[in-house]
């Protein structure tokens, strides 16, 4: 953690693979976003309780004007 903070404070750290280069700060931020994304998919959403069958509505009921753009 302290190491990571020190790396962030030093804006000069860059990683390089051939033509591709990225600052360590940006790489850590992108990695953090991927972690948040995966957690959002895996962690249970609170307050749902036992799944109640809510009406699945994907269209306006009986739309006289036909499909909506």
């Amino acid at each position: 953690m302290v190491g990571a903070a020190a790396a962030l404070a030093d804006s000069g750290s860059y990683l390089q693979w051939g033509w591709f280069s990225i600052s360590l700060t940006n790489l850590l931020i992108i990695a953090g976003m991927v972690v948040v994304f995966v957690l959002a998919l895996l962690l249970p959403f609170p307050g749902g309780g036992p799944a109640e069958p809510a009406p699945v509505r994907t269209r306006a009921p009986a739309d006289p004007d036909g499909p909506r753009p």
Binding site: F37, L39, A40, L41, G48, A54, T58, D65
Partner: protein
Amino acid sequence: MSRATVAPGTSAGHDTWTRALRERIERTVPPGQALPDRQPVYVASWIYVFGVATLAALFVVVVTGGLLALGGFEWWHVSSLGRFVNSLHLWSVEIFFAAMVIHLWGKFWMAAWRGGRALTWMTGVVAFLASIGTAFTGYLTQTNFDSQWISTQAKDGLNAVGIGAWFNVLNPGQMLLWHVVLLPFAVGLIAVLHIVLVRRHGVVPPIEADGED
């Protein structure tokens, strides 16, 4: 009978633009779906929170930006309160972008453009591009050495790709107005359209539950 004496609601056609507009607004979102308090079960997942997290961050960005505009640049450079509000503005922008990109990933992997939702996706794309422009002009609006450096680098880049004649990133007045008027207006407008479209179509069913595509 002249048109002026027709009782309200009895006229058959779209004979005034006021009436046509009213009917258009009423038809845009199905009745009761503008602010629903029930959603299908599959919406009970953290991934659906990121759209509204983006919206909440955008709200903080706009409010703190308004405070910065009230104070002016001496205030946000010198006073501790001004610097605090400046930091709130910067960090709410960071959260706005992180939430927007996670939202984008979620919608990409659930193919949320299915079932006539292409326009929802495309307004999202335009919101993303307009937000990038707003953020970049924000860097030019800092009024410090950083913004001078960024503007000269950007000028070379924009000239190199052939769009340098259309606007001038070295013109602080122009870039300030783009950042505080033109581009926030564009982002706000497209975000409203995006959310109206989400309410118009309802949340897309998961791929495995979707029989119609």
